[in-house]
């Protein structure tokens, strides 16, 4: 293989794809980016960690077509330091030589044949707004389960609840986040379950690409594609609990608070959290007291709230409450309580597209 390519384009492409090629302890080939140069000037870049695969194309001058696999991060580091606008890559028996007018670098390659093929595109395609898709995922993904006891709970669950929208849900069974984003002309009859980590990677690329994207779904995979880039993620087959039945419909107390007030209070309580991160919320007479108590001391912070309904005191894991705050777009949030020992729902004052359910602590 021998190609000439614009340095900046090559660098951007390597940055895009090499994120997925991580150090794999047993499969060194996965640290590589795979390059294929075709006659006619199309150069394809591939990287995968077996969870997710990225494939991008660039055009350049191809003198000798061919395919190579080189460690992605070493290649990226080398290219990132080149200041010349154009660079030449040439392969010769196990070595890739990168030359500019003033420099020459050689990197040992790996057998290109060992690099796994990325799955072929199959299934129904939907045109989606990549931006909103990314927004949906990024809003809920934090709530997905970190362990593998139930694979479907480690996923972002995507389905269509209402026309022209998509709904994103994630839960680790202690809290649940649901975000609905507009998605014009969306018709999705099945649901999708994408492992949260992969979903975030899809979101990152969708955000980067800006343009609308094609979402292609089949039983085991979910693909986002643009003209020059294609990302494939493993998807999980399984069902997601019908969480709508769990969302409380009747509440005993509503408290509306400035988001900033809560953030400030949590910074203080954070200092004295015990090992369970227990935060106590006591609502009485229009004031909310947030308190924490650890081995070294305790702290209390009172914020004014608009209270509707009975007084209540409840304990929650502070992290669970904190996690949602950055995703609330309104100035104020409302906490809907359903009673002692029962879940509470947090949402923005106006924006109801995000709902967040948190379970309290047992004591």
């Amino acid at each position: 293989m021998h190609i000439h390519i614009k340095t900046q384009e090559l660098r951007d492409m390597l940055e895009t794809v090499s994120r997925v090629s991580t150090k794999h302890p047993t499969l060194p080939i996965l640290q590589c980016v795979h390059l294929t140069a075709l006659e006619g000037g199309t150069i394809t870049f591939k990287a995968t960690n077996l969870e997710i695969g990225v494939e991008g194309t660039l055009s350049g001058k191809v003198e000798i077509p061919g395919a190579i696999a080189v460690p992605a991060h070493i290649l990226l580091q080398t290219i990132a330091l080149i200041t010349h606008p154009e660079v030449s890559l040439k392969e010769d028996v196990g070595t890739l030589t990168i030359t500019t007018k003033t420099s020459k670098t050689s990197i040992a390659t790996q057998p290109a044949d060992d690099f796994p093929n990325l799955p072929v595109l199959e299934g129904d395609a939907h045109t989606i707004s990549g931006k909103n898709f990314a927004y949906g995922i990024k809003t809920v993904a934090f709530a997905a389960s970190q362990n593998s006891i139930k694979p479907e709970l480690g996923c972002v669950y995507i389905y269509q609840k209402k026309e022209n929208t998509l709904t994103f849900v994630a839960t680790d069974s202690f809290r649940l986040a649901e975000k609905t984003v507009p998605m014009a002309n969306m018709v999705l009859s099945n649901h999708i379950l994408i492992p949260a980590k992969n979903a975030l990677e899809l979101a990152r690329l969708a955000e980067m690409m800006q343009a609308d994207s094609q979402l292609t779904l089949s039983e085991n995979q979910c693909v986002l594609s643009w003209d020059t880039l294609q990302v494939t993620s493993r998807s999980v087959v399984g069902s997601f609990p019908d969480y709508n039945q769990i969302m409380p419909k009747e509440f005993s107390t509503h408290a509306t608070i400035l988001v900033q007030d809560v953030m400030n209070a949590l910074r203080r309580t954070n200092v004295f959290l015990n090992k369970f991160a227990q935060l106590t919320l006591s609502l009485a007479g229009g004031a909310l007291t947030l308190s924490s108590k650890g081995d070294t001391g305790m702290t209390e912070e009172v914020v004014t709230v608009a209270q509707e309904g009975a007084d209540i005191a409840i304990s929650v894991n502070q992290k669970y409450l904190q996690d949602i705050l950055t995703y609330i777009t309104d100035d104020s949030l409302t906490v809907h309580f359903t009673g002692i020992g029962r879940p509470m729902v947090v949402e923005g004052v106006y924006d109801k597209s995000l709902r967040y359910l948190v379970m309290p602590m047992n004591r």
Partner: protein, 466 residues
């Protein structure tokens, strides 16, 4: 209730092999490691034989990436090694599986033990529904508590299960939220399913979205075919179809198609179809063709029975006196009752001693919604509006039935629900004597014994204050 791909073990023919599948794969992997570079071992992580069927071995792999790699690079080698062990093997296929590989099961067990947190858990396990029919296996007739208040709807539902499509078609069940509509109609669905019928449960919202999507993609016929393929259809919360004319029209046609073929249809709604707003008359008249039944508010005996059943389900026993007290204090819907029980159960789990009557009383009193702070005048005004009367009308010293009756009802409600003293009530009605008030209340109490419609009317009034 949650089964993962249990079906792909069907029609397998392991007896043709001289080893079990786990041993066979272990031996194969060992042999393979001598043929391939050590690096390749990683490709076989979490793989296992899922099935063996008439000569073909299916190897379960964790992802599409692994599936394609093994298929492209190793299938010939793997087949050769497998055949050395078992002559009968003719082919090998790779398929992404979601069954947990045997060695991963141990890892999960460890994680389970580690994950202890004092936070309560969302009871998600109960809500895995069958994706093909949306039925939740949790809702069964066995778990449906029958009391005097819901005997009739229960009997009708049972009759529908016995002779679907014939006796009551459609079956229309209405009642307020939390009275058990969904449980009952899902139980019908689950029972029909057990009898081998193809059942579909949808909420009217889902139905509308489905229809909207079908129109948008120009697949209206596909939509019709999809729904018509079922033997029975259950549509929950039809009140949400209000003013959705096109969807109603589609439902109307679907209804006719089902009704003509004697296929069962079940509807639920929060109010009587006659009171549903924004509903086309022809659809309304279709609802009226079958049986329309109300699930009213649970009476005291039923509430007691429900509490006992729920406690038994959670493995907790409480004194009869306590159960009676809870039943008496919470008149609202079953969901509220359940909420209160949860608080009590949590308390009983936290506290080391068994719960006493006083403790329960304390919990109930704290958790009960405070009676809304309404002035006597507000209450009178609210009820009067229901009857299209002004306060002045009520103050008139007339014995005209249209005015006298609501006046008596208001006095009764003020006395019974708000514990206002007789003289105060009298004063609120333009200085009537307290004996007049007592007489009015007695009168209503008397009528309650004879007039079957009166409790319903009182409920309608009480709903104003929820």
């Amino acid at each position: 209730m949650y089964t993962q791909h249990g079906t792909d073990r069907e029609d397998e023919d392991v007896s043709a092999l001289s080893r079990d599948l786990v041993t066979l794969w272990d031996e194969t992997l060992q042999e393979l490691s001598t043929h391939t570079s050590p690096a390749n071992k990683a490709w076989f992580r979490d793989t296992f034989i899922t099935t063996y069927n008439t000569g073909t071995v299916t190897v379960g792999v964790p992802s599409i990436f692994v599936r394609d790699y093994l298929r492209d690079k190793f299938s010939t080698l793997i087949l050769r090694v497998l055949r050395e062990k078992e002559q009968g093997i003719r082919g090998v296929v790779f398929s992404v599986t979601h069954r947990t590989p045997p060695d991963q099961a141990k890892r999960i067990e460890r994680e389970k033990q580690r994950s202890t947190t004092p936070s309560a858990v969302i009871p998600l396990d109960e809500y895995y529904v069958d994706r093909n029919d949306n039925l939740n296996p949790k809702y069964q007739f066995d778990s449906f508590v029958v009391g005097p208040f819901n005997q009739l709807p229960h009997a009708a539902a049972k009759a529908v299960v016995e002779r679907p499509g014939v006796v009551y078609n459609p079956l229309f069940i209405y009642g307020q939220t939390g009275h058990g509509k969904t449980h009952l109609i899902q139980a019908v669905g689950n029972s029909l399913k057990k009898r081998g019928l193809k059942v579909l449960y949808v909420t009217s919202e889902r139905f509308a979205v489905d229809y909207f999507n079908a129109i948008q993609t120009g697949d209206a016929n596909k939509f019709k075919d999809k729904y018509r393929a079922y033997d029975a259809i259950i549509i929950d919360d039809v009140q949400f179809l209000s003013y959705k004319d096109k969807t109603q029209e589609e439902l109307f046609h679907l209804f006719n198609a089902f009704h003509d073929l004697n296929k069962q249809i079940v509807f639920s709604s929060d109010i009587h179809p006659a009171l549903l707003e924004g509903l086309e008359d022809r659809l309304r008249s279709r609802f009226n063709q079958g049986m329309i039944i109300d699930i009213p508010k649970p009476d005291l005996e039923s509430r007691t029975a429900i509490i006992s059943a729920k406690l038994a389900h959670r493995g907790i026993t409480l004194d009869d006196q306590i159960v009676g007290y809870i039943a008496k204090s919470i008149e609202g819907n079953i969901r509220e009752l359940e909420g209160m029980l949860n608080s009590i159960i949590i308390q009983s789990e936290v506290s080391e001693k068994p719960l006493t009557y006083e403790m329960v009383k304390g919990i109930v009193e704290v958790s009960l919604k405070p009676k809304t702070n309404l002035s006597i005048r507000d209450i009178i005004e609210k009820i009067a509006r229901l009857y299209n009367l002004s306060i002045e009308d009520l103050h008139k010293k007339t014995r005209q039935k249209e005015i006298m009756r609501p006046r008596q009802l208001i006095m009764y409600i003020l006395r019974e629900d708000f514990q206002i003293s007789f003289p105060n009530i009298g004063a609120a009605f333009g200085g009537r004597d307290h004996t007049t008030v007592i007489h009015s209340c007695e009168r209503i109490k008397e009528d309650l014994k004879n007039d079957p419609m009166l409790p319903r009317e009182l409920n309608r009034i009480r709903d104003l204050f929820r």
